[in-house]
Point group: C2
Chain length 143, copies 2
């Protein structure tokens, strides 16, 4: 994991929003860039602590909110009621894979999903597709 380049990338992305790249923002975005799935608040706290850069849970919540509002991150709520965050890529028909065993969420390549009919009077904004099952890791672990 090339954390140096993630650091630079993070700073760049934040600067592009016209905001100052504070330590907390850079750190969180860097952690998100370093994961290829999505990370829960808890996991991010842990990761920050492991890097000897512990950050306040409130700051983390606020930074995550900020990143989501700015469109740099996106959040998804799993069946376990836990929100998970990932870096945002431009995506349409964005699908997720949720592992029923470990609860982690993975982003899937875009999929050509047809929109179901909505009842009359309802306005559809976007459609969210989640595939449930077991991730490779959990499958191996249980084998």
């Amino acid at each position: 994991m090339n954390s140096g380049s993630h650091h630079d990338k993070a700073v760049q992305l934040i600067k592009e929003c016209g905001a100052s790249a504070t330590a907390a923002r850079v750190q969180v975005l860097q952690l998100l860039l370093a994961t290829n799935t999505t990370a829960s608040h808890q996991a991010l706290m842990q990761a920050a602590t492991n890097e000897a850069q512990p950050l306040d849970k409130v700051t983390l919540y606020r930074v995550l909110d900020w990143l989501v509002v700015r469109g740099l991150a996106h959040s998804v709520t799993g069946q376990d009621r836990v929100r998970r965050f990932g870096v945002a890529h431009v995506h349409h028909g964005h699908a997720h894979f949720e592992c029923d065993a470990c609860g982690r969420l993975f982003c899937l390549a875009d999929c050509p999903s047809t929109q179901p009919r909505t009842p009359p009077g309802f306005e559809a904004r976007h459609i969210d597709v989640t595939v449930h099952g077991r991730c490779a890791e959990c499958l191996q672990a249980s084998a």
Copy 2:
């Protein structure tokens, strides 16, 4: 709302599981039958209280769990981290509509959605489609 028939229907459904139709179970299932969308734990508590049949929150959680396990109800977690429950119908490709304004979940008729490719080593069990937008009520309210 014909609550008498809902009561009988509830008793019947529970009996069909070979379980005793206790007051709490009948009441909760009856409430679920009476709603055509889904109801949160909180809404059910409120409804029970309104009917002068208040029930303990723990009992409600346990009854809901029981109903889900027995296949009489199903639960869905919304973006607001709140689980909502509805009566279960047999459905494949079952889609939901989640109102971004009021957070309520509606069941949509089955939809012919194509399953996205999963990464190698992943096992897909089922696919969950949720349409986001505004429900008729919230649209009217904001107009």
